[in-house]
Subunit: 105 residues, 2 copies
């Protein structure tokens, strides 16, 4: 059904903040890197219906592998460390459709 997807690539960043010092995506700059990804997608004119959407989401329940994002409808999960990782995911996957194998979880 992915041919009918409202967004070609719909990206969800876990930005959940857990308490008591438990491992969570928010402790790894997830929200800042989500904002960076959103700006980059916009600057490349990739955003909008039929194209790319960057969202924040609650806990995606893969805390130990965090920070994580998931790209639908293709259901590809990534982890990331810094802006260079985000650049590669945006340019390779979201712009050119090529999955970034080294960052997959």
């Amino acid at each position: 059904m992915s041919d009918n997807s409202y967004f070609k690539h719909h990206v969800f960043f876990c930005t959940n903040q857990r308490k008591n010092g438990e491992a969570c995506c928010a402790n790894h700059g997830a929200d800042k890197l989500r904002a960076y990804a959103k700006d980059k997608v916009k600057s490349l004119k990739l955003s909008g219906e039929g194209k790319v959407r960057i969202n924040s989401a609650g806990c995606l329940d893969r805390c130990d592998q965090g920070p994580v994002m998931v790209v639908y409808p293709e259901a590809v999960w990534y982890t990331f460390v810094d802006e260079e990782d985000i650049d590669e995911i945006v340019e390779s996957h979201l712009k050119n459709g090529k999955v970034v194998e080294r960052l997959k979880v």
Copy 2:
């Protein structure tokens, strides 16, 4: 690639609150109904890896059709009014794999 999806059905409820009285999902009880859906999925033992995950998300950019949720990887979008709508989506789609045509957007 949906055969490899970490979650069989990954559901995102827009729970974004817009300001200044603009149309938004949060004005239609989206967060309360998300919590209801999460509880129902759990009570039916549908939740977990390889099964169903219910998440909240930021603005899904379909405000005028809200409240909305999207189910991935199948990329099916729904609107909903009350708990009965949620019951139908959970039981028909998430449990039995049958899309609820009347609630699609």
